[in-house]
């Protein structure tokens, strides 16, 4: 009685009753009980599709029922046994940077450094007219920035539209529907077309883009610049896979693990390294051993660049000593060492100290990138490596080691109980509930430790748990922007010609793809997405999609907009 009165008084005054705990704690209906109540048989298939895919397409429930839920899940856990959707292959084909190595990408979509070499006449301009147009544009921008004088190596500046075309031709490009302008463009002779593309003002280019067939769209995109292409291909690829892939769980997991080992696309050389990173480092390992995934990220030029380890130099090396004398700038960098433990493995409360951060950074000194501006490959450079003794989490790593110092750190971290718990909690948070039951996390962690970090086995433990199939999990999460946008297109069986418009929407909703600056990635706790700006953006997207106003996407369902913008559709 007295306590009640005190609480009431405290609330009125805005006081906190317990130090450090807000008085506005969630009124809970004993949440643990919700995880013991199972959902109905009918709900199970819908739930599986909600959580293990980017949302059901019309007819998916029946399909899964026909195969059998258990068998369907088993197939999703073995994506290699699922034939990939041929339509996806068709749609990805035009996004050619997605299948290139980083080195090929630099050749085909040159970095600013390479473009500069072309301007200086050291590297020849590409012979393909589309690519030459792309470089031309790039050089223009470059020159505009530098306001440089005469340079004999410059490509011809683009000619104004009215020099290339008759007045009537210009008018027909400027006015009318995109389809009409498209026809006017296609009526031009092929040689003129390429010149015209470079000279087009933004508005006309945009109009043509929306009506163009894929190969012309590519030629238009090329004029936006090589870096733009790489970033567009990545974003479009992610959406197309999310929407069309038959290996849905693999794509959901690729999204999860990329986010776990997040990299920011716009950090310098990473613009050319992320494609390879997602394709060769993340996706092949999402149902494999955690240790392999961890090592693949540790040795990826993308991660080495993003978390600065490629520049880290052991403090006890001859190089560092010389640098100190000349006041040059080479020495230890803690960035990777810290995030490796805080975000990739142990978690912030996983039991490491600042001393451990430094020791781990010393172990990884010498893990660097060769040729970073030309595609970049991982190398271990013993001259940069601190060969002294290190102690990591109480384990001594003897002096005199080389690359194996870092590898041993990966061993220690990958098999640490804190890592098992941290990784499993994140997975449970993504797949089960924002605040997942500890009992489930513990069982998953046990599997993790028992199976040497076998991620497929961990997923199985989760998918065989009562918690996953419980009332506490069912439709309690809010879709992330990516899940919402991809899910909306799937729900109405939209036909995606190109996904750039969709990618822009995902960014507007608060989740710009490949552009989370911080190494934390986006939160797995879905309530973060419930806010006014996000809700409005979702309703507006629903209206646009339902009314066929999203560029590149066609839908046939008439009444879809209100359903897609409804509260119910925001949940999964």
């Amino acid at each position: 009685m007295r306590k009640k009165a005190l609480v009431a008084l405290a609330c009125c005054l805005g006081l906190s009753v317990l130090s450090g705990v807000s008085p506005y704690a969630r009124k809970k209906v004993d949440p643990s009980r919700q995880f013991h109540k199972l959902i109905s048989r009918n709900q199970r298939i819908a739930h599986a599709l909600d959580r293990l895919t980017f949302g059901p397409r019309p007819g998916d429930i029946e399909k899964v029922r026909a195969i059998g839920l258990k068998k369907w899940i088993d197939r999703q856990l073995h994506p290699e046994t699922i034939a990939e959707n041929s339509e996806l292959g068709q749609k990805l084909k035009i996004l050619d940077s997605l299948s290139m190595s980083s080195e090929q990408m630099v050749q085909n979509y040159p970095t600013p450094q390479v473009v500069r070499l072309m301007v200086r006449g050291i590297v020849p301009y590409p012979s393909d007219p589309g690519r030459r147009a792309m470089i031309q544009k790039e050089v223009q921008r470059f020159e505009a920035r530098l306001k440089a004088g005469q340079n004999p190596n410059l490509p011809e500046p683009p000619r104004p539209l009215n020099e290339l075309l008759s007045r009537a031709e210009v008018r027909s490009l400027r006015t009318g529907t995109p389809q009409y302008r498209m026809a006017a463009f296609e009526a031009l002779p092929k040689e003129t077309q390429d010149q015209v593309l470079v000279s087009l003002p933004g508005g006309i280019r945009q109009a043509l883009f929306t009506a163009a067939p894929p190969d012309l769209r590519r030629r238009i995109e090329l004029t936006a610049g090589p870096q733009q292409i790489v970033s567009r291909d990545l974003q479009e690829g992610k959406l197309l896979r999310g929407i069309y892939s038959n290996r849905q769980l693999q794509e959901v997991l690729t999204d999860f693990w990329f986010n776990h080992f997040n990299i920011y696309l716009d950090k310098g050389a990473d613009r050319y390294l992320v494609t390879e990173y997602e394709r060769d480092v993340i996706r092949p390992h999402v149902l494999g051993k955690f240790r392999d995934l961890l090592e693949a990220t540790a040795k990826s030029p993308a991660m080495l660049y993003y978390l600065d380890n490629w520049q880290s130099v052991g403090p006890n090396t001859a190089l560092a000593r010389r640098a100190r004398k000349t006041r040059a700038e080479r020495g230890l960098n803690e960035n990777y060492g810290r995030e490796l433990m805080e975000l990739h493995t142990l978690g912030v409360n996983g039991g490491y100290t600042q001393k451990d951060v430094i020791e781990v950074a010393r172990c990884f000194s010498g893990w660097t990138i060769s040729n970073v501006q030309r595609g970049g490959t991982f190398v271990f450079n013993p001259r940069l490596h601190d060969k002294g003794q290190k102690v990591v989490l109480g384990i001594t790593i003897p002096a005199g080691g080389g690359i194996e110092d870092g590898e041993e750190v990966l061993d220690i971290l990958a098999h640490h109980p804190s890592t098992a718990h941290f990784i499993c909690r994140e997975l449970a948070q993504r797949f089960v509930a924002d605040d997942p039951p500890e009992s489930l996390v513990d069982r998953m962690a046990k599997t993790f430790l028992k199976t040497d970090g076998d991620l497929r086995e961990v997923m199985k433990t989760m998918l065989n748990s009562k918690e996953f199939w419980s009332v506490g999990a069912y439709r309690t999460k809010i879709k992330s922007p990516l899940e919402f946008v991809a899910g909306a297109v799937r729900a109405v069986n939209g036909d995606v010609d190109y996904a750039l418009g969709l990618a822009n929407e995902v960014a507007l909703l608060g989740e710009p793809l490949y552009r989370k600056v911080e190494p934390t990635g986006y939160s797995n706790a879905s309530e973060e997405w419930a806010n006014s700006a996000g809700l409005l953006a979702r309703m507006n997207f629903a209206l646009q999609l339902g009314n066929n106003k999203v560029p590149g996407v066609k839908v046939e369902v008439a009444k879809a907009a209100m359903d897609l913008g409804s509260p119910e559709f925001q949940k999964k």
């Binding site: 005054l13 906190s16 317990l18 705990v21 403090p315 934390t520 996000g534 309703m539 209100m562």
Partner: protein
């Protein structure tokens, strides 16, 4: 990381429906000329990524600073006519502003800008995520707090509060503003609406009827704010006093905060953030006035200065405060950058501010003076500053509700 957001909130417009339009609404709807007590406003800016306070407010009188940073120190202010565009801008003979913050010097001189140095969160974490979370929850070291300090700091209302009394610019609501009081995230004023009128009404009904309490309360807040901001959205906005906001998200955010405040729709708290301060590599260019930090500080300084100019007399009601999760190592690292450190500096600006002064006790940069022998030590808690603004500027006396378990020590900033 338990569920933080699950608060049942009051409905403001429900009261209007009952014929009791609150003051802010009357003002907004009828643009009443009658003088009314204007609310005090607090604007908080978060510099995400841990800004390097030692290169923002430069202790140029400290010899150790130059020893610790052989290649990335900001040079001492030029004496006399020999002015180098590259050197620190002297403030008081000991501290100086980074040269790219030149736009803020007039504010300091006119005593509208105060600086607090060696300030920050006492929690030893060097994790960006944890440190931001602690600073935004206002409870360093306590993870269980499920709301943010700004939300708790909103003064208790006698009348139904404006749905936009707490506004954060951005696509997601920051931790600082989460809580039981209505708070909205707003990406841009233009985008803050459902573009189809008919659909807007239907959606509104759907969200009001929705069974999910979180979506229902966020939905209700959203639609209340949308209808209130309709008139603001329709008016073209020209910043006053020739203020020129820099291009980019941060400048846009501050311009819209100014617009909202001047529209008298009941804003009491506003929040904006600016990222990109995590300079582990090449923090400065060849000169202090070039490179990553300089570029960012230029944008930052110009935006703050434009806001001040634009707000004009209204600045009498406004205090703006800046913070960053922690400072950076006192010594430079091996790549002309700095790693994660401890104490930092905060800016406090506005009409009521006793500016033109660097507050806080300076702990020194000699090895034994450093925190864990590597970082600037802490002599003020960030809650000392925020607490003083909440109590003395906003007039909310219940500080132990805002910063539970801590008693802020006021520095006399306002």
């Amino acid at each position: 990381m338990t569920n933080r957001r699950f608060f049942l909130r009051n409905s403001a417009l429900a009261m209007v429906g009952m014929g009791r339009a609150p003051l802010w609404l009357q003002r907004a709807l009828y643009a009443s000329d009658a003088p009314s007590p204007r609310k005090k406003i607090l604007v908080a800016i978060f510099q995400r990524g841990a800004a390097d306070g030692l290169n923002v407010v430069v202790p140029h009188g400290e010899k150790a600073y130059y020893n610790l940073r052989p290649t990335i120190a900001v040079p001492r202010p030029a004496s006399g006519s020999d002015s180098r565009a590259d050197a620190a801008i002297d403030l008081d003979g000991f501290f100086g502003l980074h040269p790219s913050l030149v736009a803020l010097k007039p504010l300091f001189d006119r005593q509208h800008l105060a600086i607090v140095d060696a300030v920050g969160s006492p929690d030893p974490t060097r994790s960006h995520f944890d440190a931001q979370d602690y600073m935004e929850s206002g409870t360093p070291g306590v993870k269980a707090t499920n709301d943010g300090w700004m939300n708790r700091a909103l003064p208790k209302e006698q009348e139904p509060p404006s749905p936009v009394r707490a506004v954060a610019l951005g696509a997601v609501l920051p931790r600082s503003m989460e809580g039981r009081n209505p708070a909205i995230a707003l990406e841009s004023l233009q985008a803050f609406q459902v573009r189809d009128k008919q659909a807007a009404q239907e959606f509104q009904q759907m969200y009001l009827d929705c069974k999910d309490p979180l979506l229902r309360s966020v939905g209700r807040e959203t639609f209340e704010a949308v209808s209130l901001l309709q008139s603001v959205r329709q008016q073209p906005y020209a910043p006053a006093g020739g203020a020129e906001y820099p291009h980019g998200r941060f400048g846009d955010s501050l311009r819209q905060i100014a617009q909202l405040i001047k529209s008298n729709v009941g804003v009491e708290m506003a929040f904006a953030d600016i990222g990109g301060w995590d300079h582990h590599v090449n923090e400065l260019g060849q000169r202090a006035s070039e490179g990553q930090l300089a570029t960012l500080l230029t944008e930052y300084g110009r935006a703050l200065s434009a806001f001040w100019t634009d707000m004009g007399d209204r600045m009498a009601d406004v205090v703006l405060v800046t913070m960053s999760e922690f400072g950076r190592t006192a010594h430079e690292n091996g790549n002309r950058g700095t790693d994660h450190g401890h104490a930092n500096c905060m800016f406090v600006m506005g009409g009521p501010v006793k500016g033109g002064k660097v507050y806080g006790r300076w702990p020194g940069l000699e090895r034994e003076q450093l925190y864990q022998q590597r970082d600037l030590a802490l002599t003020s808690d960030f809650r000392d500053i925020l607490g003083e603004l909440v109590a003395r500027h906003l007039g909310n006396p219940t500080l132990n509700g805002v910063f539970p378990g801590y008693t802020p020590k006021f520095l006399g900033l306002v």
